[in-house]
Symmetry: D2
Subunit: 318 residues, 4 copies
Amino acid sequence: MPGTPPTRFVYLGPEGTFAEQALRTVPAAERGTRTPARSVGEALDSVRVGEADAALVPLENSIGGAVGVTLDEMAEGEPLVITREVVLPVEFVLGARPGTTLDDIRSVAAHPQASTQCRNWLRGHLPDAVVVDVLSNGAAAGGVASGEYDAAVCAPIGAARHRLAVLADKIADHPDAVTRFALVSRPGPPPPPTGDDLTSLAVYIAHDRVGALLSVLMELAVRGVNLTRIESRPTGEALGRYVFFLDCTGHVADVRLGEALQGLRRVCADVRFLGSYPRHRFSGAAGDRPVPAPAGLSDADYADAAAWLARLRAGAQP
Amino acid sequence: MPGTPPTRFVYLGPEGTFAEQALRTVPAAERGTRTPARSVGEALDSVRVGEADAALVPLENSIGGAVGVTLDEMAEGEPLVITREVVLPVEFVLGARPGTTLDDIRSVAAHPQASTQCRNWLRGHLPDAVVVDVLSNGAAAGGVASGEYDAAVCAPIGAARHRLAVLADKIADHPDAVTRFALVSRPGPPPPPTGDDLTSLAVYIAHDRVGALLSVLMELAVRGVNLTRIESRPTGEALGRYVFFLDCTGHVADVRLGEALQGLRRVCADVRFLGSYPRHRFSGAAGDRPVPAPAGLSDADYADAAAWLARLRAGAQP
Amino acid sequence: MPGTPPTRFVYLGPEGTFAEQALRTVPAAERGTRTPARSVGEALDSVRVGEADAALVPLENSIGGAVGVTLDEMAEGEPLVITREVVLPVEFVLGARPGTTLDDIRSVAAHPQASTQCRNWLRGHLPDAVVVDVLSNGAAAGGVASGEYDAAVCAPIGAARHRLAVLADKIADHPDAVTRFALVSRPGPPPPPTGDDLTSLAVYIAHDRVGALLSVLMELAVRGVNLTRIESRPTGEALGRYVFFLDCTGHVADVRLGEALQGLRRVCADVRFLGSYPRHRFSGAAGDRPVPAPAGLSDADYADAAAWLARLRAGAQP
Amino acid sequence: MPGTPPTRFVYLGPEGTFAEQALRTVPAAERGTRTPARSVGEALDSVRVGEADAALVPLENSIGGAVGVTLDEMAEGEPLVITREVVLPVEFVLGARPGTTLDDIRSVAAHPQASTQCRNWLRGHLPDAVVVDVLSNGAAAGGVASGEYDAAVCAPIGAARHRLAVLADKIADHPDAVTRFALVSRPGPPPPPTGDDLTSLAVYIAHDRVGALLSVLMELAVRGVNLTRIESRPTGEALGRYVFFLDCTGHVADVRLGEALQGLRRVCADVRFLGSYPRHRFSGAAGDRPVPAPAGLSDADYADAAAWLARLRAGAQP
């Protein structure tokens, strides 16, 4: 039922990973049900078939290499839309059973990309420990709890869930790294504009020519729409057809973004709208401030120009 | 009274020049009054104050160096709009009193730019004749009729009006040269779109930067609007402020030109609309064919994109 | 002989016009011969055939509507180059025989464009005088000296040459209007760069498409080259082939302008180089300051980038 | 030693995955040593420290979610360059111990992204089997060989290495999907141009503005350089600073790509060159044909334009 807040949530599992931690920052999810899914595709399909109301899946950067999968899954099949983004600092911790000290650690369980992100720390503090690949951050914590490994590189929530002691926190080599997640639903009226929104698109162009991409960017630039992300992927169907995933500043309800969207619709082979949603704001933190509309591109400027055109068409100058 | 066809016409005089010849290709002018004006400014002002309904003045290329004057006069003062363009081949003739032969000719009267355009012919056929500057093509013909000069470089209409014999025709060095005239009225509903129209604009940008002009062209290019002419002029008021005179394909009533106009209105310091009018068609001749809307830029494409956007905003995905 | 300073000068006559006044601001011309020519074409041809070393002709704005003629004459025939620009304030005066007062004036001789530029003044101060068209500002002054007219709208130099009293000065409606002249020679090494130069070009593109003009502007923009003037003209040869006259900031010896010129050479149907020369500086006056090279576009930046590329090609990182 | 062909190869392990299969298409690798690495970072570091001569790692699309990791590892630390790309069809097979039939299969081991890519096939042919996540395609095959699972989704090389029978081949949902790998070495002279090369770059811009990205694309477009891939990633260091990974047509030794690279060097915060290498050609297959240089952008056109500029600077027209 449109307008009904979601109550049944799925997320990319297993339990105890960053995805679960991200979901728990969503107030409605705290009150609703939260079910792990085995894959991004499974999570999204459960929304498509109506078994869940919303899915929390990773979009960018990240711990599971899931970016490409999420984009591909969003671009194909029944349409879905992003209604919210959640940006989490990547705060890896070293978890171990209570009583363990660094000197005791002979084996460290970690997802391969987690150990990659903490490589310098592991080399410096545990040069002699064996790093064992496991399938997820949650599985790493679980394997320590069950006694299979001495320590785990995992998310804080994974350590907490498996009652591990945190021997060290913020062990990632880049202290400012973040992971970006999306909350995804079936199509419906987008959340209202906040003045600081993002819109995600999948844009298909027939050829991989710089001219074609220039055309796309010009459609955005002349309306003062900024890109915050662009990623090209070959479509699975055939070589030589490309899809670009774009994140733009603005909301589908904004006049200038609406005009830009219409422009893309006209010049591209296809455009799939992937949602308008508030940009994630870090509480108290610095970072990207919302960018005000450039001179001449506010909704008021659009209204003024439309009124002027109407006068011209009626023959009333100026 | 809006919608009343014009009956009182002025044109850049004197009588017997290309401007009168151009005016006589306008059917309504054949039935109305036709009064010569002493200057472009005088012709336009007589329309502004209501003494005339329409003025025929030169726009481009041409015999009187009047282009800049016309543009400046259109860009300042009370707004006026072009309702029709007339493109005349520049067909200079050599006129003389009946009975004169080439060998008799010792003096040739010509407007300086007319003699310039016929320089090769004059050198080849009348190497020993003295070319005397006069103020207009009409004055050249008149001076021959009164016996002041032996021959005149003039328009066919000038020879006819002064009952001169045409000793040679098409004597201009470039046989395809044309002059372009505009029929100008007070603002009113533009003539209806024909599918092959032009729109003239005066566009002010604050600085002479290539970036500013690029912005203007991008506003046009993303809507598939072509330029057929561009001319920059420093504004009389101060150095460093430029006005661009643009002729674009399309009609103010077209969706895509309307969107482009709104874009210019927003990004430019000022835009003055100078009229939408049918492009001149040469009967039977080759030349610039009308350019169909590029893929994705027809009115139907605009309507489709607008409907798509409306569905997105309503939350209904296709 | 290349390098020899010019000593024989021609200018667009007749004597006593702004062109002569402009020429006399050129030091070498003060020491050389100064001959009036009957037309821009005649002035340029006398340089082409070697009868003169340099010609002073009007380029822009201006009193004789000669702009188009000059451009066309420069774009065709044997190549010529601009070596200097002269920008003169348009300071019209009202000249009369000594002893005449405003109340005595019944007839005013003026070139049509001169009377146009002083229209408001004439209406306000001589509402009842008849304005008589003459062929040049110099002819207006001469006609007053000979007693044919009571007063003349002319250049200060015209009043002085014909010993007229100046009844009023600065009578043009736009006090800041200027006329721009070019000093033109046969091709030779350009004057050395001064750090504040202009380069003039005639650029041919095959079609009047906005895309083609966009390509031209992009070649300039990516090298940070600014336009100070652009004018399109249909070529006399045929419809649908356009030539653009561009004035750009920079000197042909500058690295970035050189790269831009090569780019134009590659993408345009044809490019004719019309000269690099110092920008006119108004003594003490405000106006357009020279624009420093944008970030990354100085000659030093070009040298750095070239060295970096050489290292890459040699396989030496970074 | 520069120029010495590589003999010691590493690849993203474990054994029996697509990366090993890709490496074996490289002739030198067939004759040299081939060592699996536990991660992309480990593979690249072994080249950086000189323990290996070249590393084969996944770049795009792909089975391990490793794209982002490879890009990040290439963009940081000691510079490395790509010397060759290998594009492999993603040909998943279902492997089982000899004698097994489809009806016998209760459990299928698969890397999560492999099972995602074969989802439709698995639903259609093994709707009741349990899919068990494992860490790699090689591990899936190994787990079947050891009797832990009934069947594996794996690469043909994985089935062969573990002596599994192939019960079904080409089971991926998109039959044309490919994975793209890079062979990476320490910096040295690039492989010679072949006329159909790619160049990879990491380009840093200060802000995520569409204007900044437009500037980058314009540097490429004016030199006729096409993009075949673009991907933006936030840099790990801080929010708001972006790195774009670009694959361009052309070779660093080409004149026009060289000019484009210099342009990027000047306008971007930083550019890291990631190698020029022959584009992968599918034997006999259709696909992207090499794109000839656009009109005016061949090396010969560049040489012509440079000679023309030299003539202009010397004062010798035309």
